[in-house]
């Protein structure tokens, strides 16, 4: 990938030419009817996924996990343990797939890179949260430095938070420009670029109309992925707010030819929930998005439930939580 100035990925240049133009474009998008959206998400949640389909879904879900630790108390030891788990999720069953990425704070990127290499899983990505995660409340220079340091330390992916204050006060172009700036900061010394995931914090955006507008805003600015939330607020990923984003990436590809990934994060803890999200992806976007390249789960405890379900499918019985690792 080149290090040139990164233009919007679409032919919709004009819409970002002024704050007014961007505002009227985003407000001209079709509205979202909350009742209908929630009904649709609930209906998709009633699909009955059994036997072969369930086995497929569980392995797919494991391979899509960004195994995450984002605590103030994170240590190198904690991160190394998580990396080992990401590479070998089930020590008793080597057919269990590896996770997609290990998601950590920027200062742990180096530790995670080394640990993954040592564990024999260098292909597992390291994702770093950046831009004053989770609040996003810092000077832009700080956010860009935060990003650049994580990239320099070897992060394959950057999970940035948007400035919700700017979004909610209607300064869409500021948000747009900040995403573009962070994307430019994702460029490495060798000219390649870390993938950029843009976190909205849906719980704070509050309305589905806002989430749809924010999706388009982030995609116009060049997001590789759009992500629901930080996992640090009351409302994180929900099936309806994720569905809005799935519909947005579908419509964006139709309008521009550019495909963008989606990552729900926070509160997805059970295999049953994960399968419901996969059903939503399957029936809204289809095969094209059913891979770790285009869909991720941001989660920490989801993996163990998937592993327990996986063991249940292969042995016919539940062994219990002591048969999966606690890391």
């Amino acid at each position: 990938m080149s290090s040139e100035v990164l233009p919007p990925p679409s032919d919709l240049h004009g819409v970002t030419s002024s704050p007014q133009a961007l505002r009227s474009y985003l407000h001209g998008l079709p509205g979202v009817d909350a009742v209908g959206l929630e009904a649709r998400a609930a209906a998709l949640g009633t699909r009955s996924i059994k036997t072969t389909a369930k086995a497929y879904a569980i392995d797919l879900a494991i391979s899509m996990i960004d195994l995450t630790t984002l605590e103030g108390a994170d240590t190198a030891g904690k991160v190394r343990a998580l990396c080992a788990k990401g590479v070998r999720p089930d020590p008793t069953d080597r057919t269990a797939p590896r996770v997609a990425a290990i998601c950590v704070y920027g200062d742990m990127v180096g530790v995670a890179k080394d640990a993954l290499a040592a564990a024999g899983g260098p292909e597992v990505h390291v994702a770093a949260v950046a831009t004053a995660f989770p609040s996003g409340r810092a000077a832009r220079s700080v956010k860009l430095a935060d990003t650049a340091e994580a990239v320099a330390a070897g992060a394959d992916e950057i999970d940035m938070v948007i400035d919700r204050g700017a979004f909610l006060s209607g300064r869409y172009l500021d948000v747009f420009e900040e995403i573009q700036a962070v994307k430019a900061a994702c460029v490495r010394a060798d000219g390649t670029r870390a993938h950029l995931k843009v976190i909205f914090e849906n719980g704070e955006l509050s309305t589905y109309d806002n989430i749809r507008r924010c999706s388009w805003l982030a995609m116009l600015a060049g997001a590789d992925f759009i992500k629901t939330s930080t996992g640090k607020v009351g409302v994180n990923a929900t099936p309806p707010n994720t569905l809005v984003m799935l519909e947005a990436v579908r419509d964006f590809r139709r309008a521009t030819g550019v495909q963008v990934g989606v990552k729900p994060a926070g509160g997805i803890r059970t295999a049953k929930d994960a399968v419901k999200y996969l059903v939503m992806v399957n029936e809204t976007l289809g095969d094209d998005w059913l891979s770790p390249e285009w869909f991720r789960f941001g989660a920490s405890s989801l993996l163990n439930d998937l592993l327990m379900q996986r063991q249940k499918l292969s042995t016919g019985r539940y062994s219990g939580p002591d048969y999966v690792t606690v890391d």
Partner: protein, 496 residues
């Protein structure tokens, strides 16, 4: 579809929860009995053409017997305190909930509709109707029908095959709450859930004769409607039969309510929430294979968003899963009968012959049973037969309009007037459209939503009278000062 990455494995609901007998009789005066002349007919499963059971074929003599039983029971039933009648209705509602899985599977077997609809829509609504009207039984004086409302007498009720148990609930629950007794004839293609309901009545200890079920064909329905002992006729079904019933009862003392056909307009404006509108369009016409009298069978889409909406609709239709109705992942089940399939096929062919463009997603239909792929016609105008006649199947006709006034004009330009839908983000437009549309129900940013508290009924050839809510109760109560046929022949101890 095997080429998909994420193919859902079959998830069939077990039919072992339904204990089907090889044959069933008529339910008269609390007993199952053969038809007087011993005739029977078969009920088949539309998805497999398997014979499910033989049921008695009621004739005139049986109608007479059932009406007499209902007349006899009327005296004691109507004399019960409302709270007592309410107890029976609450009991029925609870038993329906307890047996809902069994009844959902039975309905799916007999009707061909998907289990996710019987399980998630039909049965919860059936129980809700009984609970709702049970609550009214001791509050009739507060229903707005005068201070001392009286029941009408014996209700003769004829119901269709599209929602067999739900239509039964719509008819039986308000009738019993108001103190009437009933003779009900289910459709000949879907008699089984009504017979299971007879068993529910026995389980609830309902006094004999209060509910009588006659399985049979149109002749039995005609005899019931014409019977001297019937005070109130309630019918849901085709406009053609509704007209015949209106002629039969004209000039008699009988009261009548008719819920007939429809050709509802589902109107999508350019500022509609597109994804939810598409869901609403799909739900409006493909719910229950389009076997819905209030189905949104005419899509009126504003020309400026026609392409966008149709693209989204086709994409969504391609994800509909057609097939085994007992599979929990099936969205569209079987057409109810060979006759209905022939009618849908003929009208779809007429659509093509008259120049409309036909489109259907690729889907493999099972080899046995009656099936019709979800179908879309574009380029339809008011002059096409498929825009005027009720198809009663999964066939959507797409028309366009330019202005709200044109939308109203086209929506109202039909002999029917049962329902309509409006899709727009603008609240004032919803209100202004709703007041101009001549339809009994107008849904805004949703479609096919039902609730026992909400009255339902039509304009013009969609019938008269209302079911549901207090209005539905009023249809089974005499107006103040109105004479009724009086109490039953025998008033005495409840004959259990």
């Amino acid at each position: 579809m095997a080429h998909q990455k994420f193919a859902y494995a079959p998830a069939p609901e077990s039919r072992a929860v339904v204990d089907l007998a090889p044959s069933y009789g008529l339910f008269i005066d609390g007993e199952f009995a053969e038809a007087a002349d011993g005739r029977v007919f078969k009920s088949v499963s539309p998805s497999t053409e398997e014979v499910l059971a033989e049921v008695a074929h009621a004739g005139e003599a049986d109608v007479d017997r059932a009406v007499r039983a209902a007349r006899k029971a009327f005296g004691t039933w109507s004399a019960l305190p409302g709270a007592e009648r309410g107890k029976y209705l609450f009991r029925i509602a609870r038993i329906l909930q307890e047996r809902s899985r069994e009844l959902a599977v039975l309905e799916t077997l007999d009707n061909g509709k998907p289990i996710r609809e019987t399980r998630d829509v039909d049965l919860p609504l059936v129980a809700a109707h009984f609970f709702y009207y049970a609550g009214w039984a001791d509050k009739l004086a507060y229903a707005g029908c005068g201070p001392d409302p009286r029941p009408l007498g014996v209700a003769g009720q004829v119901i269709p095959w599209n929602f067999p148990l739900l239509m039964l609930a719509w008819k039986v629950a308000p009738a019993l709450a108001a103190g009437n007794t009933v003779v009900l004839k289910p459709a000949e293609t879907t008699p089984l859930s009504a017979l299971f309901f007879a068993d529910v009545c026995r389980q609830a200890g309902l006094p004999r004769g209060v509910v009588n079920i006659l399985t049979g064909y149109g002749d039995a329905g005609a005899a019931l409607v014409a019977h001297e002992g019937v005070d109130k006729v309630a019918f849901t079904g085709s406009t053609e039969v509704g007209k015949a019933i209106a002629r039969t009862v004209a000039g008699s003392r009988k009261k009548v309510t008719l819920e007939l056909g429809g050709k509802a307009a589902n109107i999508v404006f350019d500022d509609a929430p597109v994804d939810q509108a598409v869901e609403g369009i799909v739900n409006g016409i493909f719910f229950n294979q389009g076997h819905v009298c209030c189905a949104g069978s005419r899509l009126l889409v504003q020309e400026s968003v026609q392409e966008e909406v149709l693209d989204a609709l086709k994409r969504r239709m391609s994800t509909l899963r057609v097939g085994d109705p007992l599979d929990k992942n099936t969205d569209i089940g079987a057409i109810n009968s060979a006759e209905q399939l022939a009618r849908i096929t003929a009208l779809a062919e007429a659509g093509e012959a008259e120049g409309a463009q036909r489109w259907a997603p690729r889907c493999e239909l099972p080899e046995s049973g009656y099936w019709f792929a979800p179908t879309l016609f574009t380029g339809v105008t008011q002059a096409h037969r498929i825009a005027r006649e009720e198809i009663f199947g999964p066939v959507l006709s797409v028309l366009t309009f330019r202005t709200p006034a044109e939308a109203v004009e086209k929506a109202n330009n039909t002999p029917y007037g049962l329902s309509a839908g409006i899709w727009t983000e603008k609240g004032s437009r919803i209100l202004s459209m709703a007041s101009k549309l001549r339809a009994g129900v107008v849904w805004a940013n949703t479609f096919n939503k039902f609730d026992p508290t909400s009255p339902f009924g039509g304009y013009k050839e969609s019938g008269y009278g209302r079911e549901g809510g207090r209005h539905g109760l009023a249809a089974y109560l005499a107006e103040p000062g109105e004479s009724t046929s009086g109490r039953g022949e025998e008033v005495g101890e409840l004959d259990r």
